[in-house]
Amino acid sequence: MKPFPQPGATTLLVVILSTCLLLFVFQKIIWIVLPVLLAMMLYYILRPVVESLVAQGMHRGAAVKIVCLTQLVVAGSILVLALVLLSKAGSWQTSLDRYLAGGENLLSKTTLSLEKVSPMFKNMNLSEKVDDQHVQDFRDEFVAKNLLPITLGLLEWLPSLLLVPYITYFMLNDSMRLKKYIIKSVPNAFFEKALLLFSRLDDSLQNYFQGLLLLTFLDAFCLGLGLEVLGISHAIMLGLACAVLAWIPYVGSIIGCIVVVLVAATDFPDQTWTAYACLALFLAVRMLDDFVFLPMTIGRKLNVHPLLSVLMLFLGATVAGATGLFLALPLFGVMAVIGEAVAQVVADQGLRARHRAARQLAAAAQPV
């Protein structure tokens, strides 16, 4: 078999640059990128269900409709729950005050303990700094300035998110036809390469999204179980929320950890060890994630070098903030597959020569 030329450093550079460029564009149109991304995630999760129904003899159209109706019922329930939560936005301030007070209490107790243990901390006057007006000011300012914009921001996302089931339905129903439609425009010489590229992209995306779902499930299970054992209120909900937040690499996990520690500090104001245990649990799950779950699920599937992953996360965050953090790795995975295929076509002189010859033949066959 003719050997495929291996992509070099130039290809990698082009892939990184095009990923950054796409991240920049995606950040500008995040209102449509997010529903499409969520729809893709649902598509790859629901596709095996549709396929198993088809394999049992059901017509594809009927299978898609049944799966999408179920999906709509679930999405409707989530929407109702979200609206109920939003309607209680007035009480958020009280809850936030309570949890921040719990956090403040934990912080002052921790600093006092540190000062008792080490004279270095005593010299730094940590407890006085914590006790000062800063925390109170932050709390008042945050509530006054950010609560309403956050609530309105969540409501602004509603129309975009309503697109998710709609896009998912058409992806499940028409993805093959869309693929055929795109492939039709590919010249004959590159036809098999294009099909192979589609197949690899499909595999990469399916592996990524199914891996992400599995990772979320494992995270939610471990965190939920750990928090339940520690006696934290709403343990399962908190575990699930933290697992979903972890979709945003690093930043999401830190936010999740802070939320859990605040809840623990509020639930058990006199037992600081519970909050520390929550922190330890979070770190343990994070380690489990990085060294066991992630390589078992997403890492193995995307086949991206750890150094490149970190580099892409930094670049993504610089170019497109939180959007970049969330999208950098999957987008890089997709762009790497495309980049490799394009590099092979560009380097394959025989294939390009065949394409040129085919164009000349097509031009000669045109009636004058």
Partner: protein
């Protein structure tokens, strides 16, 4: 305007049913398979694939004629001119091994191509169709093998 609507054209269904690989399939099954087929048109003298290329799928001639130019003498009996209803490159459905011949269109030729990954998904998703198509492809490969063996006088009595 519908850019990628379902192709339920009865003429196309009849045309696909006349192809030996699909002749055991009923109308609904043909429609299911049609979703996976890619139509390609090759001008006279245009190369479909070359000897040594990595193979990713089978090409079935709908109209026109292809010519296989194998380097190995042994294959010349089995693959020469491929006319309407006949197929070329079936082995690529089972592995990504190199193509064993260069195939060229000797007149304007319309083909439908079935890609390896889509054939594999057909086998897992819809076993009824998959088995029927697989049996027909098996028959074609078996017939070609016998032709080659006869040509080489390795199997004179079979």
């Amino acid at each position: 305007m519908r850019f990628f609507s379902a192709d339920t054209n009865s003429e196309k269904v009849e045309m696909l049913q006349r192809i030996p690989i699909f002749h055991t399939l009923n109308r609904n099954e043909i429609l299911e398979v049609n979703e996976l087929l890619h139509e390609r048109v090759y001008e006279k003298n245009e190369i479909v694939f070359e000897d040594g290329d990595a193979g990713h799928g089978v090409f079935i001639v709908v109209s026109g004629k292809l010519r296989a130019e194998p380097k190995q003498k042994m294959l010349k009996a089995a693959l020469l001119d491929i006319g309407p209803g006949e197929s070329v490159g079936e082995l690529a459905l089972f592995d990504e091994g190199p193509r064993s011949a260069t195939v060229v269109a000797i007149e304007r030729t319309v083909t439908v191509a079935l890609f390896q990954a889509e054939f594999a998904s057909l086998l897992t998703k819809n076993k009824n169709i998959g088995v029927k198509v697989l049996m027909e492809i098996g028959r074609i490969i078996s017939r070609r093998s016998r032709q080659i063996l006869r040509q080489e006088e390795h199997l004179p009595t079979l």
